[in-house]
């Protein structure tokens, strides 16, 4: 399993590795390559997020969401968490986006939807102001007070993660399985058709 993941991730990271190698010949420090990759993933996240938030077409917004998920998976790769990046792709792109797509489809508002008529300009501006107000507080705080460690992230073995799930973090692990079960049962119960003679939906 580990080998498969590493092969896939090696394939995903190969452009980054090439960039790394080409830069390491001219630069003594490889942090420039990491910085370039970080800037690229930032751009991907920004573009995807803006599309997801501002697009009037919900299918297009979902594509922006997928782009954002891919960018965040890139961040996880940069942080040397290949397993998390893999899980990000598997859970978010594979499961959550399909659910959102079902929501778009079942409410029939993909192309001529209720998202089409724009809110008024003042509404949009006030929304931006209210949404960016926490940013104005948190950004100076982070820049001022984030601890300044010079740590290069090292990859951890996936087996250690599994061991942690079954030893130190076993209670949250079991709780999350209960939560998933309850959520699934609740979802089925919510959309269950009450009439007994018809097939349940």
């Amino acid at each position: 399993m580990n080998q498969i993941i590493e092969t896939i991730l090696g394939f995903l990271k190969s452009p980054l590795n090439a960039l790394d190698e080409s830069l390491s010949q001219s630069l003594p420090d490889q942090s420039y390559a990491a910085l370039a990759a970080f800037a690229f993933y930032c751009l991907v996240v920004l573009a995807g997020g803006l599309t997801a938030v501002l697009s009037r077409n919900l299918v297009r917004a979902m594509m922006g969401l997928i782009l954002t998920f891919l960018g965040v998976a890139g961040f996880y790769l940069l942080l040397a968490c290949p397993f998390l990046a893999f899980m990000q792709l598997l859970i978010y792109v594979g499961a959550v986006c399909v659910l959102v797509f079902f929501a778009v489809m079942l409410t029939k508002n993909s192309a001529v939807g209720q998202e089409q008529n724009l809110p008024s300009l003042s509404h949009i501006i006030l929304g931006f102001l209210a949404g960016l107000a926490p940013l104005a507080i948190l950004t100076p705080m982070i820049i001022k007070h984030a601890p300044n460690y010079q740590i290069t992230p090292e990859p951890t073995k996936t087996s250690l993660l599994g061991r942690g799930l079954l030893s130190s973090d076993v209670v949250p692990f079991e709780l999350i399985s209960i939560i998933l079960l309850v959520a699934m049962a609740g979802a089925v119960f919510l959309v269950w058709r009450k009439k007994p003679d018809k097939k349940p939906n």
């Binding site: 954002t68 942080l79 079902f102 778009v104 409410t107 998202e115 926490p134 951890t156 699934m184 919510l190």
Partner: protein
């Protein structure tokens, strides 16, 4: 500027985008998309804090995995709610369904 600061700023960007979407979107599906953005930012900040500080690496990654599981559960439930709302009222616009008569299930 340390790497930790940069990653925190990136997750803050995700939080801000999600907040703006939460306020300007008009349908429940749009709100679901925005909430997913914010949850992604939360996971990213947890992993960055675990990997770039001397704290426990394994616990940080596991917490991010739990956040992903919770996001999946939340998306399932919200999908079911959206279907119920769509069935009952024929639309999922937040402004329209924000005032509902509890006795007749009709939008006031």
């Amino acid at each position: 500027m340390s790497a930790l600061t940069l990653f925190f700023l990136a997750s803050l960007l995700l939080l801000a985008l999600g907040l703006v979407g939460l306020i300007t979107r008009r349908t429940l599906v749009g709100l679901l998309i925005s909430v997913e953005l914010m949850l992604n930012g939360a996971g990213l900040s947890i992993v960055a804090a675990a990997k770039l500080t001397p704290s426990s690496d394994i616990h940080g990654q596991l917490s991010a995995l739990f956040v992903m599981g919770l996001a999946a559960a939340e998306a399932t439930l919200v999908l079911a709610m959206i279907i119920v709302v769509q069935k009952r009222f024929g639309q999922v616009t937040t402004e329209e369904i924000s005032s509902i008569n509890p006795k007749t299930d009709k939008i006031i």
